[in-house]
Structure formats: structure tokens, C-alpha cells
Subunit: 383 residues, 2 copies
């Protein structure tokens, strides 16, 4: 399979590239290094320095003999993107090319504008590059469970069967996200759905929960191939942040009451899910949506797990509830349907004590590199 | 009231400016002339030449003594828009600054991209200009009934109370628009709703049906003050197009079976509705949505009305069903709730035979200016 990965430098983009290349597919990655620039701008460097994409591809090739194509280019430049799609004629495009930080998107006008323009323009250009140059190409788009927000009803898998005043219809599941970043993904979904039903595009939109983890079969070959593991308040997802706090000897910072409930997954399962989606493409004119998560936890439950496992490893882990910088429900109903990917064969890697102690062990190896000033929330949702 | 009108050169923007100015409000209009440029580019000039905004404001002042402020500037340039909002400190901003042609938005990548960028960037910049400079300003946003599409359930007024598996929630009414232009308005709504609920903006979003008409109290003072009446396939709304075809002696072109059902309103009622919305502002943190229409017709019913009234005036009006250039249901369920504006006092101007013969009479005065080559659809939805 000919696979083009947009946003191939990211926490998930690079592991995905190595995963598909190792499976024998032809892989080409594109990235504009926006995340790297924002990380520098906000002082949010990852735990390990990540070599640039060309270097990582070279390291990967020196170990495996497999070539991953690399281009530093901006999907917001239509001609750049169109050229790739025309020349590579990919069977599958995996679209990660979005500014992924919710706090960054809430910092102020400039950051919001950059997030809005980058994310919407990349998706818009991708749609047209495919329509005009490879209309049968399957787009695998990374959405987020955050698109749905925390409704008071069960979260179905992308679509909702409605009965209203005795009549029925099937509609996109209502969305109400908690940050501008998450809202750009709501808009992506609306836009993709319009072009899918109008021009027959093939799209799988993966509503992914927060991802944790650092280890994949390929990243474990060389630490220079690790995904860019962020533990800061800008790019760090909650569990990665807690693990780093536990190792650094600072309290795990729970935002507000900690009853916020989300669906999580291991980075290994992101790779599985994207592979399953690519191997079982949506039909022409189908927007297929999967809820991509394996387990549901409250923030308090995550903190308790990290504390228990960390203490058993001899760390002295404290938990602290701090003022919630975000605007979100801290106690709410949450019940998610996520059967689609399991039906395709997803075998979840659950958050066992062994997984936690393994990650804590890895983070501990790089303990001297942790800057605990980067962990406390610097961005507040309130104006 | 201090009123800023974005898109003040448009079919509705200019009449709105004169209407609010005549009511004694301080009015300033901004426009980037995008519609004028697209009209030139696509050979879609309006029935009457419309003087530029500075000239129209001068003519209006020479007749009424009332000054309307005019700036030619682009709301997609944040600094331009921000400066206005900061300096004028408007009580109300009426946002018409969007590329309004569905066919134009479906012509190809360049036109789609221009529509997408203009409409989304204008709305995004408006949100931030208000947040940063006049957070209590009331935004009156023109949406479209086209956001909803043609669902198989009753169309409620912006919101839907859902009962699902024994639990309840209230959500934005599901949206599924029929063109990219209409889809940009769906995205606008999503974006406004995010910032309203997060930062407490005050927004009224008017889901307006297709508007017809040429006469308002102010435009009737001087033909150079007429709204830019378009009858072409790019900017002409269906009834204005039919009236012009009837006068030109070419068949009224019904797209497909003609069972497409929509809610319509007279331009006089647009003025009433926008005035009612401005006089009864949304609260902080409220996204108030009204369905703005007064009567529901199928396309066939509109054609029959124009034919009957036109024939009674001595015109020989034919109706022709042509291949539908759009992708839409030609027979469908359609039942809309629209009580909000009536509750505020809207007194509809209905589509009577007198109204139709009045408009036909006006168009007949300019019959020599009609270019009937501009009426047939030049843009197809299918790729």
C-alpha cells in the first residue's frame, strides 16, 4: 500500500510512519514542523530531544534497511500538497497535520488564529488535493473524542438515530467541544462530511481519546526513534504528564475535582487502529466514524493508579487538586460506544500496573531532563 | 444605537444600513467588494448598476441628510476589523460579510477556497475583535436555513431536545448543508457557539431563507439606492430569477422536479427581523437562534405564482423543468418552526399577487438591461 502521512513528525505521526513501513508499505511523510516551533516558542521541549525527520528516517533506515520518504512542507500550501498526491498516488492518506494542543489554542488571538488556519486549511486542501488528483484514495483522519464534549446522553459511534415528533432521521452525533483545538476538529468533521456526501470521497474519521505511552516495536530499537514524549502543560497528555510528575517528585496536578472522565488508549493501540482503518477502507461516499479508545477513566482514577504503582517502585507520589484552568464539567455522565474498531480486530493493550511501571521506568531513565516548571498549567480558559 | 455592518455593500447589507440609519442609529459599513469582484469575474452583473458604497452613502445623505460611515476594507484582515471595533465601540455588529453564492462555492478549488477562507476568517476575526475590544457588543450573524438541509424530522429553531436511551439533552439542531457556501455557515455556527459558551459572547444567529424583493422605504427614494438585484445563476435567488425570466420572455427554469421546499421572505422582513434582533439582544453567553422566514413554498409553487401573475399582466410566461445542476432532494419532508421572531413582533409581508405584480412591474422597467444568457445554470454540483 502506498501511504502518505501528513503531520509525520508528531507524537503519533512518526510512530505511524515506522509502523506502516515495517509492515512493508511504501511510506512518505510530510510535516511543516509547526509543533516544533510552538514547543520552542512556549518552552515546551519534549522529554527526549527528537532528531529531525530526515535524521530519524536515516536512523530508521540504518537499522531496518527500510526507506521512509520525508518532505518538510506545509499542507496549508495547496500546490505543495497537491503535488504529492498527484505524484505519489497514495492508496491511503493518514491526516495528523493539525496543531494538537488545546491550551495553545486558548492562549490568545495569535495562537487561536494559527490553530484555526492551520487545521482547517490543511483539511480543506487535503480534500481538494484528493478530489482533483486521487479521488479513490482513502483518507484516514484523526479526529478526537473531545469533539463530542460531555453530553448527558450516551455517545454513539459518530452518528445518532433520532426520533422526533414521531419521525426518524440519522444525523452526525451532536458535537460541543471544550477548546478551540477540539472545535477545529468538529469543523473538520462537518467539512469532510459535506464533501463525502457530495463528491463521494472515502473517509474514516477516528475519534480518538487521549493517548499515552512511549514504546512501540520500532521506537524501542533506538531511543532516537522515540515519539516526541511531551509532559508539559501545552502538549503533554494527562497520563504522560502524571508519569513525569511522579518521577520528578512533584505532586500529580489534578485539575479541579478530577471527576473528568475520558476514554484513553495506549499508543500501540493507535497504531493498531490506524492500521485496521487503512486495511478496511471506507467506501466511496462513506464517512465512517470510529470512537478510538480502549478504557474509560476519571482523572482521579489515573492519578490513583500512578500513585499506587509509583509508590510500589519506591517513588513518593503525591496528588494535588489545583484550580481548573479549563472550562469543563468536573463531574458528568459519560458512556461511550466503541465497538467498531474491536469488530475489525482491535486487541487492546490495557493500562495494567505492568504497563504503568514500564513507562515509569523509562521516564526515570531520563529524570535529569525533566523541567518541572513546564508542567503546571500556564494557560487559563477564562478571559 | 451604534451599529457596525460588515458586508454593507451587499443585497441585504446596504438596505440594512439605510434602514438603521433612518431609524436614527449611528451606522458604519465595511465591505471588501468581494461580491462585486466575483460578479465581474463570472459575468453576473446586477439588473441595475449599483454605485459604489461611498457614492451610495452620498446620494442617501443628499436625500435624507443622514450620514452613513463607509470603509472599504477586509474583515479577513484582523487589524482592520479590530481597529473599527475598538474605535467605534458598536452596540451591535451585523455580520453579512460572507461570500453568499452557493454555485460560486461549487465551481472549483479556487472559488471554494476563496469562499471558505473569506467566510470563516471573517467570522473568526469578528469573534476576536469583539472579545478583545467590545465584549458586550451584540453580534447579529446572518446564517441560513440551508444549514439544516432537508432532514426527515421537523426543523426546530436552532436547538433540539433529544431523548436517547432514557436520557435527555439539548443540542444544536443537526446540520447538513447542500453547498460549500451553506457549509461555511454551519462551521460559523459551530465556532460562534464555542466562543459564546466559553467566553460569554452575545450572539443572535439568524437562519434565513431565500430573500426576494427590491423595494424598501429607502431604496424607493432613488433607483441608485436599490439593492444589487441579481437574477443570474450565481447570485440570483430563485424568485428574483423567475421574475426576471418572466419579463425577459424566457421560460422559468425549475431545477429538476421542483418539489424542493424552502422558507422564503420579503427583503422588507429581513429588515424587520434584523431590527427586532438588534433591539432585543441576546444575553452574555447566549447563542440565540431564530429561523427567519415567513412562508414556505416549493419551487413549483413559486413558478406557478409568477406564471399566473405574469400572464395576467400580459406576459407570456412559460415554465421549463431542466436537469438539476445541484445535488439535493427534489421531493422531501419539510416542516419548520419559526415562532421566535414573530414573538418579538415580526409582521410578515407575504408573497401576495400584488407584491408579485409590483416586482414584475419594476423589473419590466429595466427589461432592456436583462441578459438572459446569465440565467441558465453554469455550475454543476457533480464532478
Amino acid at each position: 500500500m502506498n501511504v502518505l502521512i501528513l503531520g509525520g513528525d508528531g507524537y503519533l505521526g512518526w510512530p505511524t510512519a515506522m509502523h506502516f513501513a515495517s509492515l512493508g508499505h511504501d511510506v512518505h511523510v510530510v510535516d511543516n514542523y509547526l509543533r516544533r516551533r510552538i514547543a520552542q516558542e512556549t518552552g515546551s521541549e519534549p522529554l527526549l530531544p527528537t532528531p529531525n525527520l530526515h535524521d530519524r528516517a536515516e536512523i530508521f533506515k540504518s537499522i531496518t534497511g527500510i526507506q521512509i520518504g520525508v518532505t518538510i512542507g506545509d499542507c496549508c500550501d495547496y500546490r505543495t500538497l497537491e503535488k504529492f498526491v498527484r505524484e505519489l498516488q497514495p492508496d491511503t492518506i493518514i491526516h495528523y497535520a493539525e496543531q494538537p494542543s488545546a491550551p495553545y489554542s486558548m492562549m490568545g488571538f495569535e495562537q487561536a488564529s494559527q490553530t484555526f488556519k492551520n487545521n482547517l486549511t490543511a483539511t480543506f486542501n487535503l480534500i481538494w488535493a484528493v478530489l482533483e488528483n486521487a479521488p479513490n484514495c482513502h483518507i484516514v483522519k484523526l479526529g478526537t473524542m473531545g469533539e463530542y464534549g460531555t453530553p448527558n446522553i450516551d455517545i454513539e459511534e459518530g452518528w445518532l438515530d433520532i426520533e422526533h415528533k414521531g419521525r426518524k432521521d440519522r444525523v452526525l452525533f451532536p458535537r460541543a467541544a471544550g477548546s478551540l483545538y477540539h472545535t477545529t476538529k468538529v469543523l473538520d468533521t462537518d467539512l469532510l462530511w459535506f464533501y463525502v456526501r457530495t463528491y463521494g470521497l472515502r473517509v474514516t474519521d477516528l475519534m480518538q481519546g487521549p493517548v499515552y505511552g512511549i514504546h512501540t516495536s520500532q521506537s524501542d530499537m533506538d531511543e532516537r526513534l522515540f515519539p516526541n514524549f511531551h509532559y508539559d502543560d501545552i502538549f503533554g497528555t494527562v497520563l504522560n504528564r502524571f508519569l513525569t510528575q511522579a518521577v520528578a517528585g512533584v505532586p500529580l496536578t489534578v485539575y479541579g475535582k478530577g471527576g473528568q472522565t475520558r476514554g484513553y488508549l495506549n499508543i500501540l493501540d493507535t497504531l493498531q487502529c490506524v492500521e485496521l482503518a487503512a486495511n478496511n477502507p471506507a467506501k466511496n461516499g462513506e464517512l465512517r466514524i470510529f470512537n478510538q479508545l480502549t478504557e474509560v477513566f476519571t482523572v482521579n482514577e489515573l492519578a490513583e493508579k500512578v500513585q499506587r504503582v509509583g509508590n510500589a517502585m519506591g517513588l513518593n507520589v503525591q496528588v494535588q487538586n489545583i484550580d481548573n484552568p479549563r472550562k469543563e464539567h468536573e463531574e458528568h455522565y459519560y458512556n461511550v460506544v466503541s465497538t467498531g474498531l474491536k469488530d475489525l480486530g482491535l486487541a487492546p493493550n490495557l493500562l495494567t500496573d505492568n504497563v504503568l511501571s514500564g513507562m515509569l521506568g523509562t521516564v526515570r531513565q531520563y529524570r535529569d531532563r525533566i523541567d518541572s516548571r513546564k508542567i503546571l498549567p500556564r494557560v487559563k480558559w477564562k478571559k
